[in-house]
C-alpha cells in the first residue's frame, strides 16, 4: 500500500513539474504566421557556418538561432529579403548563400559542366569523322576482293566445309 502511494505521489510530482515547465517550453510558438513564413524562406537561403551542410532553417546551432532572430527583427523593421541576404553576405561572405551567386569567381562553377559537355560533344564528333574517313579510305587487295566475289557467288569459299546434305 505504501509503495502504491509513493508511486502515485511520484507521478503526481512529475506531472506537476511538467505542467510547471509547459509555458516555458511552448513559448516560441509565433504570433504572426506570415512573418514566420518569411523568416523561414530567408533562413532556407542561408548556410549555417557552424554545421556547413545545413541551412540555418534546419540548424539548431546557437548561431543559427541568433541569425534567425536577426532575420525576424530586420523583417519587422521593414527590410526586404534582398537587403537581409546582403547583410549576411557582408558579414559571412558568399559562402553563406546556399545558392552561390554568378560572378567572375564562380563562373566556372556554374558554366564548367556545360563547357565539359560541349568538349565531350566535340571529341565525339571528331571521333566519328575519323572513323568515317577510315572507312572510306579502306583499300582492299586483289586477293581480298577475289575472295569476297567468290563468297558472294558460291555461297562459301572452298576452304570452308560444305554442310552435309540432309538425308
Amino acid at each position: 500500500m505504501r509503495k502504491i502511494i509513493s508511486v502515485a505521489l511520484l507521478i503526481y510530482v512529475w506531472q506537476v513539474s511538467c505542467l510547471a515547465q509547459a509555458p516555458s517550453t511552448a513559448q516560441p510558438l509565433n504570433t504572426n504566421p506570415a512573418l514566420e513564413a518569411q523568416v523561414n524562406t530567408i533562413s532556407n537561403e542561408l548556410r549555417c557556418l557552424v554545421c556547413q551542410n545545413q541551412t540555418i532553417a534546419d540548424s539548431n546551432a546557437d548561431l543559427a538561432i541568433d541569425l534567425k532572430n536577426q532575420i525576424r527583427t530586420q523583417l519587422t523593421q521593414g527590410r526586404t529579403q534582398a537587403e537581409i541576404l546582403d547583410y549576411m553576405v557582408q558579414r559571412y561572405g558568399d559562402f553563406v548563400l546556399y545558392k552561390p551567386p554568378l560572378k567572375a569567381s564562380t563562373w566556372f562553377l556554374w558554366l564548367g559542366p556545360f563547357v565539359i559537355l560541349l568538349l565531350a560533344f566535340f571529341f565525339l564528333w571528331r571521333q566519328i569523322q575519323v572513323r568515317k574517313k577510315l572507312l572510306s579510305e579502306q583499300q582492299f587487295s586483289q586477293a581480298e576482293l577475289a575472295r569476297a566475289t567468290a563468297l558472294l557467288n558460291n555461297g562459301a569459299p572452298n576452304n570452308i566445309a560444305q554442310p552435309k546434305d540432309r538425308p
Partner: protein, 174 residues
Amino acid sequence: MKRYLVPLALFVLLLGFLGLGLQLNPREVPSPFIDKPAPQFTLGILGNDTASFSPAQMRGQVWLLNVWASWCVACREEHDLLMTISQQKIVPMIGLDYKDKVADAELWLKERGNPYALSISDSKGQVGIDYGVYGVPETFVIDRNGVIRFKQIGPLTPQIFQDKILPLIRKLNA
C-alpha cells in the same frame, strides 16, 4: 598503349584534385572582412560597468581582437600562447567575450590569467554577428587605420603566430 594514357592521365588529375581537397580545411571560409574597415560598435567592458570600448579608441596602433568565451573548449588550447604574447608585450590584445555570462568569464580570467588589455562583453552576440564570427576562438589583426588585415578562425598556434601574424604585425608597424 596510347589509348590507356588518356584515361590514366584523367584519373591522376582527379586524384590530384581530391588530394588537394583533403589538404584544405572546409571550416576556413574566406572572410569578406579582409582589407575592410573593422565594424564600429560601443560595448561595455567586462568587470567595469561604467566604462565602454569602441574600436575607434585603438586608432593609431596595430592590435589584435581575440574572440573568446568561457564555454569555448578550443579557447583553452590557445590561452597559453595568448599569455605569452601578452607578457612579451608583442601587440595589444582586446578580448571579445562572446555570448558569455559575466561571472563565468571573470572566473575564467582569474583562473587562467588575463592576456587582454581589456575584454568587451558581447553577451547577446551582436558584435559577433557584425564581425562574422562563427567559430570561437577567432582572432582579427587590425591595423593603425582600423582596417582588418587578417583573420584566424579557430585557435591560434605558435606556428600560425610565428609564420603569419608576427610578420604581418612587424610589417604594419614598420
